[in-house]
Every structure is written in C-alpha cells, then in structure tokens.
Symmetry: C2
Subunit: 460 residues, 2 copies
C-alpha cells in the first residue's frame, strides 16, 4: 500500500496523490449520497500519459480504478466504496485547438460543461447539451453517461456531439478513436461503445466536441391541458408544425409545489390537470404566425384549455420557472426519485398505470409527475408523507421499485433515461435489457477489461 502511494507520487507528484480522509470522502462520493465512500487513494493526474502510467501501475498491482469527473451523477456510477483508487480527471480541464472550419474543439475530460458552453459562446458558437448540473458536471462524465438534458428534442444527447475520443485502456494504452472525422466507415465505432459505458471499458481522458450555430431567442408557450391523450396530440401537432427545442410536462400538483416554493402567482385563472411547456426558435414574423396558427388549431381541437405565449425573452424565462423550479420545491420531503423513459407516444398510458399502481397500493403517497416528455423521459417523484419516517419511506419505495419497473418493462421502457445505471440500478438492468444482451455486455467488458479493474461492480 505505502509502496503504491510512493509509486503514484513518483508518477504525478506528491501534491496530486490524496489520502486524507476528507479528500477520500469527497472524491469517493457522488450526488446520490447513498453510499459510504471508502477509497484507498485519490489521484489527480495532469496528462493522458500520467493516466496511462497510473492504469499500468494499478493493473500490475490489481488495484481497482474508479474514474471520476464532476461526481454529479445520481446513480452511484462514480462512488468508490471498496478500496478503489479514485482517478480524478479534474486537472485535465484544458480547452484547446478550436477549429472554426470543423467547428470542433478539444476538451480534457475534466472540462466543466459550463466552461465549454461559455467557450463556444465566446467564439460565436453553441454547445447545446445543457442540464441542471452544467456548472459542475464534467465533459468526461457527460460522455461516460451519455448525458441528455433539456434540449434533447432539437439537439440530441451528448453522444451526438462527440467527434473524437481519447481513451486509456485497462492496459494503459492510449487510443485515439475516430480522429474527429465526420465520415469514417472503417469498422466498429468504438467511440460509440465508450459513450455511455460509465467508465467500465476505458478511461475517457479527452474528447473533440462539435459545436453548433447559436439558436435564436426562444419563444415559450405554456399550455393548460385537461387529459393525457391531449398531451400526446399536442406533441404530434407542434412537432409537425414547428421545430421544437423542448416539450416539457408537469402536473397540477407539481405546479402547486413550485408556486408555493418560489412564491409565484398562478399562470392561469383556472387550474388544469396537466401543463405543457413548448419552446421553439422564432426567427421571424412568418414563424410566429405559424406558431400562433398551430396554437389556435390546437385550441379548436380541444387539446388545450388555456395558454400563454411569451412576448419577450424575460417572459419566456418566467414561464420556464414553473418547470425548472419543481425539483427544488420538493427536495425537502425528500422525494423518492426515478428517472425513466418510454417512447413518447406511450407516456400517457404508462403514467396512468404507474399512478394507479401507486394510488392503489400506497394511498398515503403523493406522486409528482414531470419530465422531458417530448423524448419520453419522465421524472417520477414520490413524496414522503409527513407522518412517515425517512427509513420506512425508503424501504417502502424500494419494495415498490420492482413493481414500477415491471410496468415499465411492459412498455419496453428504460429504467434509466439519462442518469445511467451505476450501483443504484444494476440489479434492475434486466428490466430494460435481455439476458442475451447482458451476457454480450459482460463479454464485451471482458474484452476491454479482462482483469475487471475499471469501475468494477458498476453497471454490470
């Protein structure tokens, strides 16, 4: 052990090998706060080469490695609970070699999402993957979990913005995957295999990211809707008439929590069962007319009972508050959260089944529904009843978990829409992936990491 520490210090210098308890607690934990951190050491290499040397040392000493980014994950993918070495990529935070013709830029794995967004913006471009933890999540972690967020409908997932990857293998070799090419039909795309693999196949140390033209100022519609089939109609209707940026959803219960928490006034005179927030670019008069026409025909069809269209950027932001404030407004309960997805067309039916299951079996529980349902992603939040202690609540929810996942399986849904599997959901993987798929994944894992030193126990 002390021998390992000495060798690590030889590779990256004394300052970057951390063994203090506070450091280990910090680097061994993610935002899930569900697991007791217990790493052996945390290291902060400063180059791809140093990462490679550390991996070789770990391979030789059979020490397991937990690759570590911003640790904003909610599935325990980056926690170290079992005497692992935490390999933090946070010093690989350089943005370099911006190329305005290719519209790409090279990012160390430790670049903060917001840092890349700002860099793009300073150069007249746009990095479109955005979510609540953009201020602390890191690009390497985003790629390892294929992060999604609030603009998936228009811009897709992190996967869609990765032009090239630098990956250190379990043998300590440095791979350059895809060389940032747009077109490259030369066999299996290992870049795509690495994306979303949660640090179990290789350590992502660098990525060439694509950038887009900045969007126009957004227009936002907030719509009051009386039933779930109408939500589905609205999605189809608006998608075919406007290029949507976001199509978000929340229930009256969610709205009430936000209004109470942020002291907002009600957006509509009469409350409705559900609300839909539609965001789109409106570059000119013609587009605004089209949007108005779509709004009016939706009203004529009875798919919405009331609606507001933002007339300024400020009003657009105000309307977003009703959706963005939900998570924080229920954080204190605390809620039992589940990040799940079905096909967008199945959201209504799935939601009703889960809702009815919870209401029937757990009548004291309150369900708060919201999500990015333009892409089928629902955030299920069950609130702890006031008179129930936290432990009982957690146990009860844990018991409900397999039942909810069984319903999900009936819809061919995903047990993790965008947070990954990590430790939290690995026991439930078979609700979303078949036995054969899991066997193939295990065999692929063995190809890339035969001695199981890369994030062992996660995902599989």
């Amino acid at each position: 052990m002390s021998d390992l520490i000495r060798q690590l210090k030889d590779i990256i210098g004394d300052n970057y090998v951390l063994t203090d308890k506070s450091d280990l607690d910090n680097y061994g934990q993610d935002w899930s706060r569900l697991y007791q951190p217990d790493p052996i050491v945390a290291v902060r290499p400063g180059s791809n080469q140093e990462v490679a040397e550390i991996v070789k040392l770990c391979q030789a000493n059979k020490v397991s490695i937990v690759p570590s980014g911003g640790r904003t994950g909610l599935s325990g993918g980056a926690v170290a609970t079992n005497q692992e070495l935490v390999l933090s990529l946070d010093r690989l935070n350089q943005i370099a070699n911006f190329n305005p013709v290719d519209r790409t830029v090279e990012c160390g794995a430790g670049v903060i999402t917001q840092q890349l967004q700002d860099f793009a913006s300073e150069n007249g471009l746009f990095y479109p993957v955005d979510f609540a933890s953009a201020g602390s999540s890191q690009i390497g972690g985003n790629i390892a979990t294929n992060a999604g967020g609030i603009k998936v409908l228009k811009y897709g997932l992190t996967r869609d913005w990765v032009a090239g990857l630098t990956v250190v293998t379990s043998e300590g070799e440095i791979l350059e995957l895809n060389h940032a090419l747009v077109k490259n039909a030369t066999g299996y795309d290992l870049r795509h295999l690495m994306i979303g693999s949660e640090g179990t196949l290789g350590i992502i140390t660098q990525a060439t990211m694509r950038l887009a033209n900045p969007p126009q100022e957004p227009t936002v519609m907030l719509l009051a809707v009386s039933d779930l089939p109408s939500v589905s109609h609205l999605l189809e209707h608006f998608q075919s008439n406007i290029d949507l940026m976001a199509f978000e959803f929340f229930s009256q219960q969610a709205l009430e929590k936000v209004m109470a928490h942020r002291e907002l006034k009600t957006p509509f005179a009469d409350s409705a069962e559900f609300y839909v927030l539609v965001e789109f670019e409106c570059p000119g008069e013609a587009e605004m007319e089209k949007a108005f026409a779509a709004f009016e025909s939706a009203a004529e069809n009875g798919w919405l009972v009331d609606g507001i269209i933002s007339q300024s950027n400020q009003q657009a932001e105000e309307l977003w508050q009703y959706r963005e404030g939900i998570s924080e407004s229920i954080a204190h309960y605390p809620p039992y959260k589940n990040d799940i997805a079905v096909k967008p067309s199945l959201v209504g039916e799935f939601l009703q089944q889960v809702d009815s299951f919870v209401t029937t079996n757990y009548p004291a529980f309150e369900n708060i529904w919201f999500g990015h349902i333009g892409d089928g992603n629902l955030h299920l939040n069950i609130l702890k009843p006031e008179n129930m202690d936290v432990e009982t609540f957690k146990e009860t929810c844990a018991k409900a978990n397999p039942e909810i996942f069984s319903i999900l399986k009936g819809f061919n849904g995903s047990i993790s829409a965008e947070h990954g599997v990590g430790l939290l959901k690995k026991d439930y993987l078979n609700y979303s992936r078949s036995d054969t798929e899991i066997a193939l994944m295990k065999a692929v894992k063995k190809v890339f990491d035969p001695n199981n030193i890369l994030n062992p126990g996660k995902l599989l």
Copy 2:
C-alpha cells in the same frame, strides 16, 4: 450439401431457396464488380423467425453466411466468393407501425431507401438520408455500412436515424436493441456497435427509423473559387451564417467532363480552378437577405471570384447538375475511385499533397476531384489514360494505393468515408485504425460470432 438445401427448403419453402447459377451470380455479387461470385446457395427468408432458424442451421453445419441487401456497395462487403450461404433480406420489405407522435416507423431490412423516403413524404414527413443508389439500396444495408450521402452536413449519417434495431445473433437469437427509445442510459449501446459493422456481428432484420419534418425548398449557390484556402474560408463563413444542407466541391476538370457529357453550357464566363455548391433552406425574406449578405461579404473578402444564386427550384436543380453529373461523365474511362475523408479543415492541404504525388509519379494520369467536402469526404477519381490498357491501369493504381493511404494516414483520415471496408479495403484498415483498435475489434467480433460464420473475411 443436398441435405442442407432440403433443410433450408423445409424452413422457408422451395421457392425461396435458390441454387441456379444465374441466381447465385446475382445474389453473390455487389456493385464493385471486382470479385467472382461463388456462393453455395441463396435464401430469401420471409420473417425474423425464419432468419433465426437459417442461422441456427448454418451454425450447426458450419456454413458461412453473407447477409445481403441491395448489394449496391462498392467495397465487396456483400459479395459471396467462398461457398457461403447468401442470406437475402429482400423479402423483409414491409413498412409498418408508423407512429406520428414518435415520428418513427418500422422497416424490414429489405425496405428500399426510396420506399422509405416515399412513405415519409406520403405522411408529411421526411427521411433525409439520400444518395445515388437510393432506388435500389436497402435500409438493412444502409445501416450495416452507416451510409452517408449528400445531406450529411444537416442531417448526419444513417446512424442518426436508427431508433431501434432487430438483430439475429450468430446463435440464431433475436435481439431487440434500444426499443426505439430516445433516451436509454442502460449500458453499452449495442445498436451503435451493430451500425457500420458490415454484417459481421449480427444480421440486421428490422429497424425502427426516425423521420424529420420536410425541409423547405432549397436555394443553391454555385461559386467559382480560385484556390483551396478560399474553399475552407467559404465553408467556415457560410456555416456560421446559414444552416447548410450541402457544401459540395469540384474542380474545373470535373466541370469540363460534365459539360461535355451532359451538353451543358458553362455556368460562368470565366473558368476558375474550383467550384463550390452550397445548398440551404430559405424559408423567408430574412433568410434570403442573410444569404445575400454572406455571399457579398465572401466576395469582398476575395474568397470567390463569381457566383450564381438560384431564383427558383428549377434553377436550383440546374445548378446541381454540374455536381451530380460528374460520376456518370467519367464512368467510361473507367476511373480508379477512392472514397476517403479527412477533417473538413484539412481537405485543401490533403488534396494538394495527393495531387502533387500523382502528378509527380504518374504524370499521364488525370485527377478528377469532387466530393462532399463540407464533411471532409473526397471522391478521388483518377482517369485511365487513353493509351493505357485497363489491366495495366488497375495494377498501377493498386500500386499507388498504399502511397495515397500513407498520405491520408498523416492526416488521420479515413480510408473509407462512407462505402465501408468489405473485401476491398480490409488490407488497408491499419491506415485508419491502430493495431490496438484492430485487436479490440477482432475480440469484439469473437464475442458476437465465436465461430466466424457471419460474413467471414470481410472488414477484419
């Protein structure tokens, strides 16, 4: 052998087991026309289940399988030269379960690209992957080679439109990959591993494809350019001002061939060294003004010497002729073709190096350059000199191949931008992929196809 044929007939019926020489020649060959077909039998199953049973039978009898689509490939990925069973997917040509909310539709692997384009159009939507062989290529083959085409700049590759895949494994199991979900962070994305794997990891029998909103009528600019750095400037300039659909390139030599072949008049009074064709949507006045302004500032910067902007759909089509007619105008030479890619920003430098290499070493050869260079994809075409016989020409070009690929390797380019590796380029794979990558690919192949019965000898 006769036993195998009988068993195949038992599975799919007599009519769909083909052993006539003409059928075998037809089903054993692709558009490369470089290899002598020699399959043992060709079969045309009518369902996923039948495909699975055939694979099991082949596995039991150690018979190799060549999955077969429209066979429009140019790399020999679908040829059967070695007593294989050709498994044609052409009867799996149903389009079903169109979902207007999800904007997806299920296609059998044998659906013709054009058939899907037409279906989308009939339903008010758009399938954007398009290329010259759209009238005969099949969706399964497009996916197996991750086909690109002429609208990659805006719409990406086939990969970007595959929501879900049904794949028959080498053991004859039917896998449903991704269930057409938008968001699904549950481990390795085997769908993306299958895409571009050229039938070596599994047999794609069905796919759920995404559809988009139809584009507006396109506007086309044809620009005369005096040097390669200006082409690069124009790409950066127009990309940042307009959302481009296509950015195509050809040389004066290419233009001359087209004009002669299609009897077109010259687009400009004075000829230039190079030409760029820019296509974009122009939904309104504001966009057209923006495009005009971009054109004018490009001219002021000296990046173009002349230009035409289409004023009607008909004129747009006329301008496209100068680019689209190139291949057919040189087909009779015949040309030595190479489909290669570098990063868009490196196109100019790469082109110059190859051009100078060919001019120096093969002064009798004429290079015709054109390509989708907005995405870095160049079609190198060397014309056979009139006084050289075809065999000598082919041999000479084959000798030049490694030298051109060496230059390409220096640019971290791809030896196959969009046609795949197949048989044609497998000996050159190491010019684009590292030894470690190739070793990993081989190990992955072994996981999915341990007995090497799926398209053996292709790609790897």
